[in-house]
Amino acid sequence: MAKIAIIDDDPDILDASSLVLTSKGHEVITANNPDDGYKIVVDNSPDLIILDVMMNEPDDGFFLAQKFRKNNITTPIIMYTSISKTIGMDYGVNEMVPVDEYVEKPISPAQLIQKVEKLLHKHIER
């Protein structure tokens, strides 16, 4: 089973996501701000990172993802977004934003598990 880091400033989302993933046998570590998030990833080398796009600032998550990649942390990242694409803030997987998967909140436990398994599987294949 895998070690997963969840970085989100919403304690309810942290708890709910943690519960879902631990129930599947994963080990979960959490942080509620970008600085702590960076630290737990460096200290624990998780297999997967789940990252909220908007913490203190609307693009905190992006900057943290970029910081990981710049420092050669290639751990796959799932980005949580809660801003609908219909209002112009369209995020996509590209060079600028080095994440592997986008998930729009709210997300059901089943969806979360499915996305996590898919990405872990892909990562192991690589």
């Binding site: 400033d9 709910a16 609908s84 112009g88 059901s108």
Partner: protein, 508 residues
Amino acid sequence: MDLLKQKILIVDDEKGLRLGTKRLLEKEGFDVVTAENGTEGIALGTSTEFDAAIIDMKMPDFDGILVLKEIIKKYPNTVCFIATAYASYDTAIEATRVGAFSYIPKPFSPDELLLQISKGLEKRELNLQKERWQKEREERLLEVAFEKTRLNTIINSISDGVLVINKNGEAVLYNPSALKFLALKNIKIEEYIIDKLPEKLAEQVKQFLNSSEYLKRSLTVQLQMKADNELFVEATTSPVPAPDGSLAGVAIVIKNITELKKIEFLKSQFVSMVSHELKAPIAAVYGFLKLISDKSMNLSPDKQNEFINRSIVRLDSLLKMVNDLLDISRMEMKTTQREIKELNILDIIKNIMDLFQLEIKKRNLNVNIKSSEINPLFKGDQDEITRLFTNFVSNGIKYNKQNGSLVINIEKNDDYLVTEIKDSGIGMRPLEKDKLFHEFYRVKNEFTKDISGTGLGLSIVKRIIDSYAGKIEVESEFGTGTTFRVFLPVVDNALKENKVTLNNIQSV
């Protein structure tokens, strides 16, 4: 003299002929005046305009030719006939050369005379008509010229850009705004201009000019003329028809829509913020409910209860946020019903304090309320003013430290009722202070993570203060505390009061 009758002057020294002709013409319905010599003829013929004059060639005092010259000099349209017994080719030529309509050889038959006169009068009518037309035409030309300058002045003074291009793609009319908006320089009339226009606009113009048929519609395009949203214009191209119905050219009207674009951007930014803020609690509650309903999760009853309670907390805050948003929207649309009356600010603040007793005790805060006035009065809506101070008191308590202090000081100066709310709380960094009144902005750090709020309180407060023409000051030091100073104008209130009294006096 009958004004409707045509007037004829007869100048002849021969009495019989003079009177005979007069009788004849009067019978034909003319108004006839006679003169028995040249002197009298000139005097009469130059004092009123006659339709026609029959002038004898040979008179004792003056030559008929001279009389004719004088009359024509004054009234060029009087039709003159020279009557002569010595009719010859030469006299005929001389008479017509100086301006006679024709000559009548003496003796003449009545029919001969009448025929000549009717021809002459016809000619006169034509001349008069021609003269009238000429005058009208000159007037119209003047008017057109005047109209053109007036049109130019109007076009040059309007703030929208106007550019007219003929079917060859040459500029035929433009105003300074058009040049400014389209960043065109040194343009000459009748210069080929299509390739100098912004690409999208040029394409639009070509659609009209290159079309084989006349396109009866307008096309609009929005152009960003300067980077960083500094200049946005909207250009509308419409066809201009030629008299034969074909295309003469196009008229382009260019509007500056920069401000609109800015508002549009602010609006979508706000909508995006609102959506995010509303979606966060929904996502949390959704996650909890999914967990509870998922049998495979095997949640303990305690855990289920905890998640239900946490969901309720999130929904409560969501509801508060929606209410705050509705309040903001009501304030923006100015649909709030205000009941303005005299309020005692000290009483209002004391009442608010009572509501927060529990929280004050919990944090063991030292609260001190001072006022320079026994009754600090302000005219306002009770709900709004209460809401305003509730916000500051609530913040002063929420963001305070254990065993801290909250000092409220009310003072009145000439212009304002100043209420100072000073807490010994966690304070703010300068950057945080700048964003304080932005919608949804909440200071986030290790101290604030357990403090709930919608992030709309201070932005509502700001709107209330603005609506009373007041102002607000913030002083804050990170870790030490924050002081808010609310200035509510008293002078304005007093002025309004005076006005009302004056009006009352006038109406009595």
